[in-house]
């Protein structure tokens, strides 16, 4: 390669000794440039498919959650007036957000001003900061809210747990729960994904008549109306679910919204 004297500047560059400063910088920049193009190209080209995948997954879990709730499929198919609607909620106010729609929610949540930092005492779920807006699903029959599906999240044993919890129209009992994302120990904590365990949530009360939060994942089988069965060998994951549900259904989470619905103001 170095035998003839190259005239083309590209060839002259390639013919430089590998250890020269110019060649080193050139190879570094060229590699970085090509790799950048490759990675950005793949990300940009494939993003629409990935977003669609994620949305489909969430939709699937939501449908599975609804169909697992006794009587819900019948209500959805029989009643003309029963409709599942998507609403963005202003969490601290406990009412529908004024300016943010499901389409603009993602953009709004990029703004750190729309997040509230939690003090350690408030932060039961271990999430650090909480968004001020959240997208929930409401099932109404006429004007009455029959069911509310709320996305919740918290810190699990190995990583974040994301779930959706459905609350019955009485705003006191849980109708169901589905886990949409988790990285707990396979075979132990990861059993929170199993339908058999999630069925235990149906009909569980989360607060008592005085309005006090009582929900818990039991250690072992559930003994009261406020408990669901614990998972053997997954105490940390069970505790994480308890704290997560308590946080999100409590005053720092959807509490204001639940109260508003209960008063019939929503």
């Amino acid at each position: 390669m170095a035998d003839q004297t190259p005239t083309n500047p590209w060839k002259r560059l390639l013919a430089l000794p590998n250890e020269s400063r110019g060649k080193t910088l050139f190879v570094a920049f060229a590699t970085a440039l090509v790799c950048t193009l490759l990675v950005s190209g793949a990300t940009v080209l494939l993003r629409p498919i990935q977003t669609a995948n994620r949305a489909a997954e969430t939709q699937l879990r939501l449908e599975a959650l609804l169909s697992a709730i006794p009587g819900m499929t019948a209500l959805l198919s029989s009643s003309e007036s029963a409709q599942l609607s998507t609403v963005v909620i202003d969490l601290p106010e406990g009412r529908a957000a004024q300016e943010i729609t499901p389409e603009t929610l993602e953009t709004a949540l990029l703004d750190t001003g729309n997040w509230t930092a939690l003090s350690p005492e408030q932060d039961l779920a271990g999430i650090g900061t909480r968004p001020d807006y959240a997208q929930v699903y409401l099932l109404r029959d006429g004007a009455a809210v029959k069911l509310m599906v709320l996305p919740i999240a918290g810190a699990g044993y190995n990583g974040p747990i994301e779930a959706m919890i459905a609350i019955n129209g009485d705003m006191e009992t849980i109708a169901g729960l589905t886990v949409t994302g988790q990285s707990e120990t396979p075979g132990l904590g990861a059993r929170i994904e199993e339908a058999a365990w999630q069925q235990g949530f149906a009909g569980t009360r989360f607060r008592d008549d005085r309005g006090e939060m009582r929900f818990a994942v039991a250690r072992g089988p559930a003994t009261t109306d406020y408990e669901v069965d614990g998972i053997t060998g997954a105490t940390r994951t069970s505790t994480a679910v308890t704290r997560m549900v308590r946080f999100w259904l409590g005053p720092e989470g959807y509490g204001p919204l639940i109260d508003a619905v209960k008063r019939g103001e929503f």
Partner: protein, 220 residues
């Protein structure tokens, strides 16, 4: 270019005799993490093989122009880019499996096998032998992953590729799954057993002991 038998030897060498996992004990981190079921093991094996072959090809193509001072960085950047592209493809077209592989696809970047092959083989050889060597190593890694994944899924859940093979006791069959098989330690045990079995069958693979047992006279 070496003649064909040499290429074949390059391909077959790393399958059993010089298997990167059982002989060199490389890349075992991911081999332990993704083998809870067969389909994740196969996806991981295919991903690693593709990344390995592509990286070896690219590194081998530009091997005369990689300055020695920055060669590791150049190689890692190439490998990392390949991994990100593969990860994006998995998330787009194999979404279910990518959910279960989670972070481990990204960790192919730091898999010792990939950097090991680009550094020790692809950097000194033309593209074709480099790719054949990469393919051989990828298949060697795949073989171990598939064996361990099959054993763990079969005894941990009674299924293979999600299809019931051993009917579970809780569903009316006779098989009680071994929960241990779904946890990381079982992969260590299986890998250890596999290495032991291979080295007993092929004594060439056994390393000489680093320390010799003290000479104890008989008949104490």
């Amino acid at each position: 270019m070496p003649p064909r038998p040499a290429l074949l030897r390059t391909l077959k060498g790393p399958l059993v005799e010089g298997n990167p996992v059982t002989v060199q004990i490389l890349g075992i981190c991911s081999a332990l993490a993704v083998t809870t079921s067969l389909d994740t093991a196969v996806t991981m094996a295919v991903s690693l093989t593709v990344v390995l072959v592509l990286s070896a090809a690219v590194v081998s193509l530009i091997r005369r122009h990689i300055p020695n001072a920055i060669r590791l960085i150049v190689q890692i950047v190439i490998v990392a880019s390949m991994v990100i592209v593969i990860d994006q493809i998995l998330q787009a077209w194999f979404f279910e499996i990518s959910l279960r592989l989670s972070v481990f696809v990204g960790l192919i970047t730091t898999n010792c096998i990939v950097l090991g092959r680009t550094e020790s083989f692809a950097r000194q050889n033309p593209p074709l032998p480099a790719m054949v060597d990469a393919l051989g190593n990828g298949l060697g890694y795949s073989a171990v992953l598939i064996v361990i994944g099959a054993i763990r899924e079969l005894f941990g859940a009674g299924t293979l590729f999600g299809l019931t093979v051993l009917p579970l006791a809780e569903e009316g069959g006779w098989f009680t799954p071994l929960n241990l098989m779904r946890l990381a330690p079982s992969a260590f045990f299986l890998l250890g057993g596999l290495v032991w079995a291979l080295r007993s069958a092929l004594p060439d693979q056994a390393e000489p002991p680093e320390t010799l047992p003290p000479d104890v006279p008989e008949g104490r």
